[in-house]
Structures are given as C-alpha cells and as structure tokens.
C-alpha cells in the first residue's frame, strides 16, 4: 500500500514520513507570505495538523503538495487577518542615521504600511507574485482560484498600493529608490 493511501487511513508512521518530506516546502511557502520565521513555523505545524485531521478528504490520485499549499495559504491569510497592525514586514536594519538614510527609511516604512493595509487576499497574491516572483499557476493553485483571477488580485493590489502611496506623497514610479 502506498504512503499516501496509508496516510488517508490514519497510519501515523506514514504521516511522519510525509511530514518529513513536505515540511520544508510548506514552511518555505508560508514564510514567503507571513515573512516571519517564528510565525511560519507555528503555521506549518498547524497546517500539518490540519492535513492529518482532513486526511479523509484528500484524493489519493490528486496533487498532494498543491492540497497542502492550499491549506497553508488559507491559514496564512487567516493569520494576516488577525495580525496586529504594528507588525512589521521585516526587521529594521541597524545603521548610522543620516538624512538620506532617514528619508529612505521613511519611504520604506510608508510602503510597508501601505502594503500591510492591503486586504489579506490581495496582499498574499501581491507578495507571492511581485516580491517572491512565484509563478502565477503555482499561486493560483495555492489560492484555489484561476490564473486569471490571481492576476486580477495582483492588479487590484498594485492599484490600491499606488493610490495609497500617492496619497502619502510617494510616487514610486519616479523617485522611491533612486539613492
């Protein structure tokens, strides 16, 4: 009996083998979305636990990894909805302050803030497509939508982002990082 079928029947040894095979892939996917290694580990554990609970729903002939990524993506979106607003997308680098650096930092913070204000579903699509440059078909599969719908989400995210940055006095097309 193959590993996946044994897993669907609740075989804990088969599940352990599967976890060791896919945990790195799930973690890598989640950390690209939430951008926090600690949170990504927690969500990876939650994803694997949920996969075990939902094991009877998986089609043995289906794409196991895509199914796992979809569960992971949904948990990551839930996390982004719950997340405190002051959470930062990245740790701030420590450097000697000067006027250029402060200006760049201020712009970066405004861009991050605008990005955080995006609706979670748009934020996830934009993160994966624009920052991580993942293929659209992979993003679409993880979001459970079509490639066209994924592109629409990214387009809407960019439009909102552009408007928010414009309102904040930043025109990324012309000036953001010319230093």
């Amino acid at each position: 009996m193959d590993l996946l079928r044994r897993f669907t029947l609740g075989d804990i040894d088969a599940f352990e083998t599967l976890v060791r095979q896919i945990q790195a892939s799930i973690y890598a996917w989640i950390v690209r979305i939430v951008r926090d290694p600690g949170v990504a580990e927690d969500l990876t554990v939650d994803t694997l636990w949920r996969m075990y609970r939902l094991r009877h729903k998986i089609r043995v002939d289906g794409n196991f990894e895509a199914w796992a990524h979809r569960i992971a993506t949904n948990l990551a979106i839930d996390y982004l909805r719950r997340k405190k607003p002051e959470h930062s997308l990245l740790a701030e680098p420590v450097a000697a302050p000067n006027s250029d650096h402060l200006l760049a930092r201020e712009i970066r913070e405004k861009i991050q803030e605008a990005f955080r204000r995006l609706p979670p579903k748009l934020q996830v699509a934009a993160t994966l497509a624009l920052i991580e440059e993942r293929p659209y078909d992979q993003i679409a599969s993880a979001l459970g939508i079509s490639v066209g719908a994924t592109k629409v989400r990214v387009f809407r995210a960019v439009r909102i982002l552009r408007k928010q940055l414009s309102d904040a006095g930043i025109t990324p097309m012309r000036r953001a990082y010319n230093e």
């Binding site: 352990e16 976890v19 950390v31 690209r32 990245l90 861009i111 920052i131 982002l161 097309m173």
Partner: protein, 73 residues
C-alpha cells in the same frame, strides 16, 4: 498597467520588503506529534462508549435492576 509599471512596482516592493530565507532549520515533526496528542486528549475513547452501550442494553433488557441499584444506593 503595462509591463514597465509592473517592473517598477516589483522593484519598489522588493527593496522595501526583502526576500526572506525560506529554509526550514529544524524538524517540526515532534511539535506536530505533540499537537496531535493534545487534540486527541479531549476525545472519549471507544471503550467508554462500549461501556455506556452495554449499560444501556442491560437497563433495557433488565429494567428491574434499576430498583436493585437504587436500593443499594
């Protein structure tokens, strides 16, 4: 939005939000197993259900036993 705009937005975002290290540095199986064990603690084991079923069957088959039990309480 054209490809040029796309590239500029990508550049700005990538500079503001650098890529993260996607490498998992430790095995998460012990934590998964712990979570599975925790979540199964609240469940009623099958033998408890079997005991309840047997008790119900006995009470239905021999209702007067209730009186005997009541007398001894």
């Amino acid at each position: 939005m054209n490809d040029h705009d796309d590239q500029q937005i990508c550049k700005v975002l990538q500079q503001s939000c650098p890529r993260v290290d996607p490498t998992l540095h430790r095995d998460l199986w012990p934590r998964v197993l712990h979570k599975l064990e925790d979540s199964s603690e609240g469940r009623v084991p099958w033998y408890d259900w079997a005991l309840v079923a047997a008790t119900v069957l006995i009470v239905v088959a021999f209702p007067r036993l209730l009186l005997v039990f009541a007398y001894h309480l």
